[in-house]
Point group: D2
Chain length 303, copies 4
Amino acid sequence: MDIRTDLAVEAAGMKKAPVEGIESTVEEKGHIKIERIEIKSDEAARAIGKMKGTYVTITTRDLSENDKDEYEEMCMCVANELKSILNIEEKASVLAIGLGNNAITADSIGPESVKNLLVTRHIKELMPEEIDESVRSVSALAPSVMAFTGIETSEIVRGVTERVKPDLVIAIDALASRSMSRLGRTIQIADTGINPGSGVGNNRKELSEKTLGVRVIAIGVPMVVDAVTVALDAMDIAGATEDEKRVFFETYRRMEPLGADMVVTAKDVDSLAKRSSRIIANGINIALQSALGKEDIDRYTGF
Amino acid sequence: MDIRTDLAVEAAGMKKAPVEGIESTVEEKGHIKIERIEIKSDEAARAIGKMKGTYVTITTRDLSENDKDEYEEMCMCVANELKSILNIEEKASVLAIGLGNNAITADSIGPESVKNLLVTRHIKELMPEEIDESVRSVSALAPSVMAFTGIETSEIVRGVTERVKPDLVIAIDALASRSMSRLGRTIQIADTGINPGSGVGNNRKELSEKTLGVRVIAIGVPMVVDAVTVALDAMDIAGATEDEKRVFFETYRRMEPLGADMVVTAKDVDSLAKRSSRIIANGINIALQSALGKEDIDRYTGF
Amino acid sequence: MDIRTDLAVEAAGMKKAPVEGIESTVEEKGHIKIERIEIKSDEAARAIGKMKGTYVTITTRDLSENDKDEYEEMCMCVANELKSILNIEEKASVLAIGLGNNAITADSIGPESVKNLLVTRHIKELMPEEIDESVRSVSALAPSVMAFTGIETSEIVRGVTERVKPDLVIAIDALASRSMSRLGRTIQIADTGINPGSGVGNNRKELSEKTLGVRVIAIGVPMVVDAVTVALDAMDIAGATEDEKRVFFETYRRMEPLGADMVVTAKDVDSLAKRSSRIIANGINIALQSALGKEDIDRYTGF
Amino acid sequence: MDIRTDLAVEAAGMKKAPVEGIESTVEEKGHIKIERIEIKSDEAARAIGKMKGTYVTITTRDLSENDKDEYEEMCMCVANELKSILNIEEKASVLAIGLGNNAITADSIGPESVKNLLVTRHIKELMPEEIDESVRSVSALAPSVMAFTGIETSEIVRGVTERVKPDLVIAIDALASRSMSRLGRTIQIADTGINPGSGVGNNRKELSEKTLGVRVIAIGVPMVVDAVTVALDAMDIAGATEDEKRVFFETYRRMEPLGADMVVTAKDVDSLAKRSSRIIANGINIALQSALGKEDIDRYTGF
């Protein structure tokens, strides 16, 4: 049963037996769990339907709305994991792409995150004397979605990348997960690039080193779950057999266009989206600028 | 199986046999279906778990985002059905209450609707010479939700009603439905008052003639479905027996606190909420002011 | 020349000679200046057109958008000054009123502030076992404006106050200032109650111990300046005499209805409004709950 | 005195004598006044500081918030004037650019307008069978502002234009006017391209046939006035001489960096911005798609 998830850790976990060519480790830091998965072979990539590369999945086990300490821990954890995966020179420039549709809360992680980035490229280019030389050149773009622009998102990103010529692209998007408990609580960082639209909304083309000519780091947060997930979980509870579930699954998938407008999300999706976007923005800001640390959380995220 | 729905038409429809003391008729007008249900006895009310009274359910069969004609038909249909249920004198004053939480899209129907009402009470009281005598006195309040105010919503409404002394209250709220296909496509009007919070969010106390001292008309739009609905539909598709479904249902309900944060809604919930709010506001404006008609749709709904 | 300002410190400062019955002190704390004015006699109150009582004006001398330290200093300073003016018992309950129109940025300080308050009254009443006894009962209301409700704002506040029966009311509103440099940079706290609408928008009735039956603390932030101010400043620069300025002033005031739609505000009014609202909310939260301190800034202001 | 205005009609009107090489006509249609100015020579262009070309200025004389008829007249008038200036083949494709910063109301005309455009390019390219052949290919982009992207807006537009290869670009921006009475009431259409940032915000580079390789039509709405305007008007009222005004003006301009954060706008800037954006979007939709007319106003502007 091909249940949709954008998380490599879930895709790997759905297999009954461990897949050869996939290595994974788990680390726990206070409330936070960090799962690292490496998909090493093309066979392994095919087996679980994810691109070859490294995926880091950061999950808070408990996220009450007002827990400021946990918020700060998450920011720092994203910063640290991102740093370890970035692998760029001190002077390398970065272009951040916030994918998705700001008008749909569950698809707004990308645009909201880039709004809160510390953007420096224009100052370095136009007023270099105003800014410390050690500050990294960062630019940002929220290309919106094809339904609003009439243009493939990947085309917009390519057009701008060709002009800006960054050394690295970071693409941020909303994801789909297998599990309700991950909504707004998990952040996946991958060095594989991104296939935008694998989250919410229509398919858009790949953003990767192959298409953009520079490495693409992907950051995403699950904001929706596949409705079939809820149903299958229900059948599990009801003691359905694997065969019964398979019959249901196939029927459901055939009918799906009828329910294509359905989305299963969290009741507090609005605040989860805002919170996740700020965690990502802080994580990127701190990871990219060597002078920033924990005490700078929210210093550049505006109001 | 007690599947939650705020629609009387669904509650009645879930019974296997017709319930005595319930009368219903169906009318079709172009794309629009109007179901009228009258719950005439206390026994019937108990049987389907809805208050005694009249419920009108207006549903568009197809609602593409840009269909202006259908939008106008819905506005006029709401206006007409509301008029027939209002039963007030020409000079009677009305206070509209927009229940719910503006910060959660699926719960924003109430506050968004009252934003677009033609409010006249202050002009009639302070500058009566500025306004035609035939204009009805209309006031409006969006009392927010207890999580933001710390006050039972019914307490706020009672405090304001005591001061404003309207002849009628119209309460607008988001509802829960049994069926995805009704989200943003159905509007229920009832002369029974409302139990706010039966939609999305926490329980709040009844708003009715009993508690406010004036008749309360309720208008609502389903914006979420109970997650268990999706699961039961899935089991149906999979050919589960009634017994299997019941076992599942009971297990699910026992576990529910774990999934209490889950909501099943439409992908385009943001635009459905805006559209429904404008239809309701236009319907109320036209129903309350005898000088307004179809050509006044959106004339008072601002920008 | 009667130039409109809602700041007592400006009203007093516009007099050529010190007014008897007014005492004032100035304190500087780092970037922050605290001016305390006490209007002690009815004559002094009439002379400068402000109610008898105590006014504390907190001003940051420099407010760059991302200065987190200064943001925290302002939050703590508002908390401390508010504490010293509150003068309530440990168990006294508080109702906060956010005056103004959320849809107009320059008038949104009130509603935005109450959104970020730590509201506790419902928990203390409905689930007292869930919350420490020492937590103060706080409720909040954003009554919107008469143009939207058709109801005098003071009527709504009275209706709710009668039901909630708080021991103290805190009313938050946007103000008008004499000086551009104060926009979003000054916070005035007064123990005099408030005359809502003296800020932006229409006149509304007084909120004070006289009208509500409980003490009313007022908190406000200047978000607009009177346009005539800009003109008079210009004439000063141009070396105009007092007489010339007076002639202009009188002519201008006569013409004003023509320019009544004009507002002079800051280019970054959107971010100033958000920032000021958060400072006020944090200040109130910390002042009202004895267990909170600097490390709790933004812990309860949501996302 | 070089008072800033983005309106050619104002720039020409500020000259004491008619400038040679400028032709102008005025037409009145009900409540609407249409001024057409043609700047024919380079000398004339230099004299009034505007690019050579045609400027059409559409102004409603009175604009009450809820006047639906006038709203529709303005939509049709923009459509008609735009059609007469477009001068493109039936099959020519168009890329619309919404300049400005969505987070500042007075600078949001561009992004808000493109949100409401009927975008068709993706359907024509990916699902040509779904759409009538006569529908024109339209795409849209809101490139945000350099402070958020770190990239010159003109660079983003060039990058995307090179990929999309439209036959014509329409650029929409907020403007500065000399007169309060024009805010939100005037729309300027020009065939000269645009110098973005001449409205609100920072300077950005020219968008014109020279820089993009295709013709650029500019549409703008005044949303702010230069503060010096208010002061000079005040001095006029006060009977100041031209010399006195000049002295003031020079002093003011020297001091201006101090007041650079000041903006003079309309009290109802929020609703004026929304209304103007919808008028522009409807005007463009109807001008570009030959099958659309008055009855299609708001049919494609969403909710």
